[in-house]
Symmetry: C2
Subunit: 387 residues, 2 copies
């Protein structure tokens, strides 16, 4: 696993996987809780259960447990409108392909993680940025004056944690239904934020428009990439999702389905409260350690997701990022999230919080050290070699 000159956020994350201090990727890397470890301990039995149980039943159980745990009681479990896949990115690739066949003009939230615009562009989908700060009905109407086929939102958004609340989603979904736009939601981070756990399917199905929701278990629990993406779609649907998905996979693993069922059940029975506490504690650690530095500003006060964005107000963010990387401390520079105007994100860094507290402590102490050095010296500002 090697990367040459990195081109995107994931390649930066790949460089960090084995780093001394990896707070780059948003994948969960904290330890298993005792009750999670008990679920993992049952994996060998899950091979036997898989032999004795229909795939359909295992899939429905996993979908039901996960959807219930994140408040999605009206998700269409068992209807055939929930397609499991190896990871949400595989789902994004499939949805992007289907949009390229039927709905080429897409307004995409800005900023957001760069593999979403990159996959859409790879499939020759035309993108218009939809500013996260402009996500009210007027903002959407302004954008949709263009010749649009689809609106694609990430909620909670990455890196900001910004949630489209129920009232706003209702407005947006009604607008999409009236204009016959496909509404795509990537909800990968909703497990972290109860404010994103109102029943999206009840709302969307009541309105009756065409939608695709990409659900994801992969950001929540340290299951070492044994995870599930789920592409859920509306009763009325013009995208050939099922067919496109079948070009990439026959089925996910019945072991992963059982693992997801186990972790989701645990989450509903206190595991989410623990997880939310863990992330909140790490966020406190970071904010307390960096908050009294003049040049660091917390940007997303209300965020609850497993990453934290900080602004480096003295213009040193690119240099800080480079120095930290050179010392084996990997955070993400935020330019690439701003896929339409990378310079908008240049002064921000993203720190992952799904880690052991010691990792966060080490990361913030290294950031402090670098910042203090800079506040004392007048180091030459140089652009980083990449991005």
């Amino acid at each position: 696993m090697g990367v040459g000159r990195p081109h995107n956020l994931t390649e930066l994350e790949i460089l960090a996987v084995d780093a001394d201090v990896n707070v780059a990727d948003g994948h969960p890397r904290q330890q298993l809780t005792p009750s999670q470890a008990a679920v993992v301990g049952r994996i060998p039995e899950m091979f036997e259960v898989a032999a004795a149980t229909s795939f359909e039943a295992l899939e429905a159980r996993a979908h039901r447990a996960f959807m219930d745990a994140v408040g999605q009681y009206r998700a269409p479990v068992g209807t055939g409108r929930m397609l499991s896949c190896y990871a949400s990115s595989v789902g994004i690739d499939v949805v992007a392909r289907c949009l390229s066949e039927r709905a080429r003009n897409v307004a995409l939230i800005h900023p957001t993680f760069d593999n979403i615009p990159d996959l859409l562009k790879a499939w020759s989908v035309q993108l218009v940025p939809l500013e996260e700060s402009d996500l009210d009905i007027r903002g959407v109407e302004r954008i949709a004056a263009d010749d649009l086929d689809c609106l694609w939102l990430t909620t909670p958004n990455n890196p900001s944690g910004c949630v489209v609340d129920e009232a706003r989603l209702r407005h947006i979904a009604e607008f999409c239904a009236v204009r016959d736009l496909v509404l795509v939601l990537d909800t990968s981070f909703r497990g972290f934020d109860r404010r994103a756990q109102y029943d999206t399917y009840a709302l969307l199905d009541e309105i009756g428009g065409e939608y695709v929701v990409i659900e994801d278990t992969g950001k929540l629990w340290p299951t070492l990439e044994l995870k599930l993406g789920i592409v859920v779609y509306s009763p009325r649907n013009r995208l050939r999702l099922e067919r496109a998905m079948s070009d990439v996979l026959l089925s996910v693993s019945p072991v992963v389905l059982q693992l997801v069922e186990g972790f989701a059940t645990d989450a509903a029975n206190g595991g989410f409260a623990q997880l939310h506490g863990h992330i909140a504690d790490n966020r406190c650690r970071l904010r307390e350690a960096l908050g009294n530095l003049d040049a660091v500003r917390v940007v997303d006060n209300g965020t609850r997701i497993s990453v934290e964005r900080i602004e480096i107000v003295n213009g040193h963010a690119p240099q800080l990022w480079r120095e930290l990387s050179a010392r084996g401390v990997h955070v993400l520079p935020c330019g690439p999230f701003h896929w339409a105007r990378p310079s908008d994100g240049e002064s921000y860094l993203r720190v992952a919080l799904g880690r052991e507290p010691e990792t966060i402590e080490r990361a913030v102490s290294e950031i402090r050290r670098s910042m203090e050095k800079h506040s004392q010296s007048r180091a030459t500002l140089t652009k980083p070699a990449l991005l």
Copy 2:
């Protein structure tokens, strides 16, 4: 998991997953051997090993163990030119995307499993069929008179089991190098056939052309879709494979890497001999039970892979397939493998052999029953409702 009217082989396989007798898909569904079960029993420990070991080391160990087990001693382990992914189909999707950017005109082996042409076509790659029966240097030269950028072979091929031997691969690779064509090999089934286990990388690197090899652990062992695709590429490479892969994944699971290492080590220490015996026994069962029927012909005498193709010489194959499906016995109709001329495959059915012997017995007795009925009656021939 539901499928409407099936459009491709995988959708037919999805319909069969929970069927009474599923000999449709080529995924391994036999029981674990005792030594394989012991590896599965260690999965909980693998979570601890993953926490204590670098990803890079785990990946190199899995790659080394797998490549050694299938005779690929010169595979470029640890060079960064081996990209792990969730499944070979994810690899095919990524390679297809990269070809669409740089090498749009592809000669693709015919027949082969239909998700390969379907993914290439989805990415707007232009395909020319390269007949499996024509895979000598003259056949390749005839094809390459067209404006070609790439040759894509599956070896051993699916469904025929046809292997491109070392001498032929040398001719073809030299031809590609001289003409500056990318040579893509899908070797997913090579674990079943020692004749496909000469060192492909030694040969290709000696010749020095541009290549991509898609390796796969997913067809071999009943690990319930916990598997690895590996996209391996030549030192000289114009395709942006690394970047395209990073749009779909950060990394595979370090647990799956350890599982692959364990199964590959077991395979090298007698597991492959057992597997080959298991498949050969099931093939015998099928051939003995069907061989004395006038209307059934074994087509691929030399094949060793985990599927068997039979020809129904009385023209009843489509009807037989439909009758069997209606009784919960799922085989694959072979038309769709012949992606350029489906009618070429209409008289063939494919039976999966990676099953328990009882499943094979039940499938062949149902096939016999149907055939004998037909030999006694003059049933009306009707086309199947699909494909």
